[in-house]
């Protein structure tokens, strides 16, 4: 039997599973503590659910006055702006007011006029980053930053750095099975096989990503209800139309960078096919698989 360490902890709204083959147990326990501390540190800084996080402070104050932020948060926001440009606006950390609009929408109580007002008021262009003084300000008080489509990829990148610091060669890290980082290879192979789950036949792989040092991130806009039916949770809003994405879609992206995988899997849920191909070229090397469940059956597109 192969020497194998595995453990998990709760963070970022899901569970993080650490699988470390072939590493001494004492070191694994130490590594687990290091990883957990690091993820908690990242979460305590990035989460909008924690009232004292830097992001929460920005959300509270940046519409009134410029907020000076840490180098790390400033760097993250700059990165998010770059990815927003790269994805032609599909990746956008300022869409929360739109999500909130749809959450609260009652056909009788709101109008499309309000939707358009919200769309005008949000977008990365409404987040101003100061030059040199690491200040962040919002153009209006409707703006709110939500790093939900970025945080796990960012955390995985930090986990990867920690593991490299300790010269760990082989590892498999999973945030809730949707954001996966691999290092090295499976003990019985020369890479890791990451299957893409088929929701019409759970347990069957629709596609297999062969990964060495890299990440696979999957985004979707549905859940499987108690009767096994796919149900759109309408939490994915198309920033170009302002409306929720109605089809049941998953987008999986393999990339050397866990951040790229995370960002693109989020952005490609609302991106047209020809634009996906275009963006993918810029982001190489990466592999993109989109699954559209039409009538419950998967239609697969590999880019």
């Amino acid at each position: 039997m192969n020497k194998l360490y595995h453990n998990s902890f709760y963070a970022m709204g899901t569970r993080c599973h650490i699988v470390l083959p072939g590493v001494e147990e004492d070191l694994c326990e130490h590594l687990f503590a290091v990883i957990k501390d690091e993820v908690n540190r990242v979460e305590s800084s990035l989460s909008r659910f924690l009232s004292h996080s830097e992001i929460s402070v920005i959300n509270k104050k940046a519409a009134k006055e410029p907020v000076t932020v840490s180098e790390e948060i400033y760097g993250i926001l700059e990165t998010c702006r770059e990815y927003s440009e790269m994805t032609h606006g599909a990746f956008d950390v300022s869409l929360r007011p739109l999500l909130q609009y749809w959450k609260e929408k009652n056909d009788n109580s709101t109008s499309d006029l309000r939707l358009y007002e919200i769309m005008d008021a949000i977008g990365m262009k409404q987040i101003e980053l100061g030059n040199g003084d690491r200040s962040v300000s919002f153009v209006n008080d409707r703006v709110e930053i939500d790093l939900g489509g970025f945080g796990k990829g960012y955390a995985l990148e930090h986990i990867q750095k920690k593991l490299m610091d300790f010269s760990v060669r082989n590892a498999f890290i999973s945030f809730g099975e949707s954001s996966i980082l691999t290092m090295g290879s499976h003990p019985a192979g020369d890479h890791w096989k990451v299957g893409l789950n088929d929701y019409s036949q759970p347990g069957r792989a629709l596609h297999t990503f062969a990964v060495n040092d890299g990440a696979v991130s999957t985004s979707s806009n549905f859940f499987v209800d108690d009767s096994g039916e796919l149900r759109n949770h309408r939490h994915v809003i198309n920033p170009f139309t302002g409306y929720p994405v109605e089809e049941c879609i998953t987008v999986s992206v393999r990339s050397d960078s866990s951040i790229v995988a995370e960002v693109l899997s989020t952005a490609f849920l609302v991106t047209r096919d020809e634009t996906i191909a275009l963006i993918k070229e810029q982001a190489e090397p990466c592999e993109v698989v989109k699954v559209n469940y039409v009538g419950g059956e998967p239609e697969i597109t590999v880019y």
């Binding site: 595995h6 099975e177 019985a188 347990g203 629709l206 999957t218 979707s220």
Partner: protein, 423 residues
């Protein structure tokens, strides 16, 4: 039934290795260290039955099941309602003396123990009369209709040095015994809340009789305040005993409210109520009963910071649940040197998953007949001449606090235990 008992003894042997048995479930000695009993007539335990309605007949059948094996003589039966009296004769093949008056039964038949399953308000007299004649008592729950009568039963047990057991059968349930051991061991962390409910959708009328008539009051006694506190004494008392057992304490106060909001017929007892019991460490036991919707059924849950025991459905859930299937499969494959694709990438495993994940069974042996196990223990304790006092107190504390809960719902004030009832 032999298999049933053997499995239970296996469980009690396992539990015997635990340090909590002596403090939390000393009555398992009836199975781990039973009294020696031969098949000789001199070793025979003679049991009489008082009250042979639905529950009484069930208790009789249970004893019949093990009578030969444990050398028990069903020595007499008694009920003052003729149909039940006749059924008792039928059930015992006409070979057992039958009585309408329990006093005559106690006077005329040599008994070692009686099983009492009369209506609630008719528990005290037969209990005290039996014990004063040197007969041990197993009495259905709850103990009695008022605190004074409950206390008098308990005092008689001390005064006559006779066994008094109250029929809270969960005390012998493999699920509850296993769960209590795990809770005491700290597996789910300190228990910080207990939730329970018993919801039904029924009129609760057992017998056809002219509403309000003397016969109705005799047979459907559960509906009248003079003879019953309704679902408080009949249902809550079971789960209150469990809550006390889980907390290893009795409450310090109870508050609550009740009403009749659906069955607006001749009944006098609540058809719904909600209660909050408080324990000294600040834990609350939240409980409700309802007779107009059965969706939530019967449940009692002990919640700790590490996990939750959902006792009536034999499930435990961890706050830190096991890895999802794909991760487990990957771990298995690595350990087995298999290099297969694991379908893993997918929608985020949502935070609600700890609730959605199916939990684990607390005990494999949950289908056992715990009432019968309790009655077997009663026979063993009769042979030994004593039973663990903690077992009697489980019944006493559940009964007193059930009646205090009733007081709370009628007074709209929180209630505490008056000092004279503290034992």
């Amino acid at each position: 039934m032999q298999i049933n008992r053997r499995k239970f003894i296996e469980l009690t042997s396992t539990l015997a290795g635990s340090t909590v048995v002596a403090s939390a479930m000393p009555w398992l000695s009836a199975f781990n260290n039973p009294a020696a009993a031969s098949a000789n007539p001199s070793d025979r335990v003679r049991i009489g039955f008082i009250g042979l309605g639905g529950r009484g007949k069930a208790l009789l059948r249970n004893v019949q099941d093990f009578a030969d094996r444990l050398n028990v003589d069903i020595a007499a039966v008694c009920d003052n309602y003729d149909p039940h009296y006749q059924e008792a004769i039928e059930l015992t093949g006409g070979e057992v003396p039958a009585f309408y008056d329990y006093r005559r039964m106690l006077d005329e038949v040599e008994l070692d123990g009686v099983v009492i399953a009369t209506p609630l308000k008719v528990h005290m007299e037969p209990t005290i009369d039996a014990m004063s004649r040197g007969v041990h008592v197993f009495c259905e729950k709850a103990m009695e209709r008022t605190l004074d009568r409950v206390k008098r039963m308990y005092d008689a047990h001390l005064e006559h040095d006779k066994i008094l057991l109250i029929g809270h059968q969960r005390l012998f349930s493999p699920v509850y015994l296993t769960a209590i051991e795990e809770i005491r061991r700290g597996d789910i962390g300190p228990v910080t809340m207990i939730n329970g409910n018993w919801h039904r959708n029924t009129d609760w009328i057992f017998y056809d009789a002219e509403p309000g008539s003397a016969l109705d009051r005799q047979l459907n006694w559960r509906l009248y305040r003079e003879t019953s506190a309704g679902m408080l004494t009949e249902l809550l008392s079971h789960h209150l005993q469990v809550a006390n057992w889980v907390k290893d304490a009795q409450p310090v106060s109870v508050t609550g409210s009740g009403s009749i909001n659906f069955w607006k017929d001749h009944r006098e007892v609540w058809d719904n109520f909600s209660l909050v019991f408080k324990y000294a460490d600040g834990t609350h036991f939240k409980y409700s009963c309802l007779q107009s919707n059965a969706h939530n059924g019967m449940q009692i849950q002990a919640l700790g910071n590490k996990g939750m025991m959902d006792l009536e459905v034999n499930k435990r859930y961890w706050e830190d649940p096991p890895a999802p299937p794909a991760i487990r499969q990957m771990i298995h494959n690595i350990e087995s040197n298999l290099f297969d694709t694991i379908p893993i990438g997918g929608a985020t495993w949502v935070p609600a998953e700890p609730v959605a994940y199916g939990g684990e069974f607390i005990s494999d042996d949950w289908e056992m007949n715990e009432t019968q196990l309790y009655l077997e223990a009663f026979v063993d304790f009769i042979r030994k001449g004593e039973a663990p006092e903690k077992l009697t107190l489980e019944g006493y504390n559940a009964s007193t606090w059930t009646l205090l809960a009733e007081d709370a719902t009628y007074s709209d004030r929180h209630q505490t235990l008056p000092e004279q009832y503290l034992v």
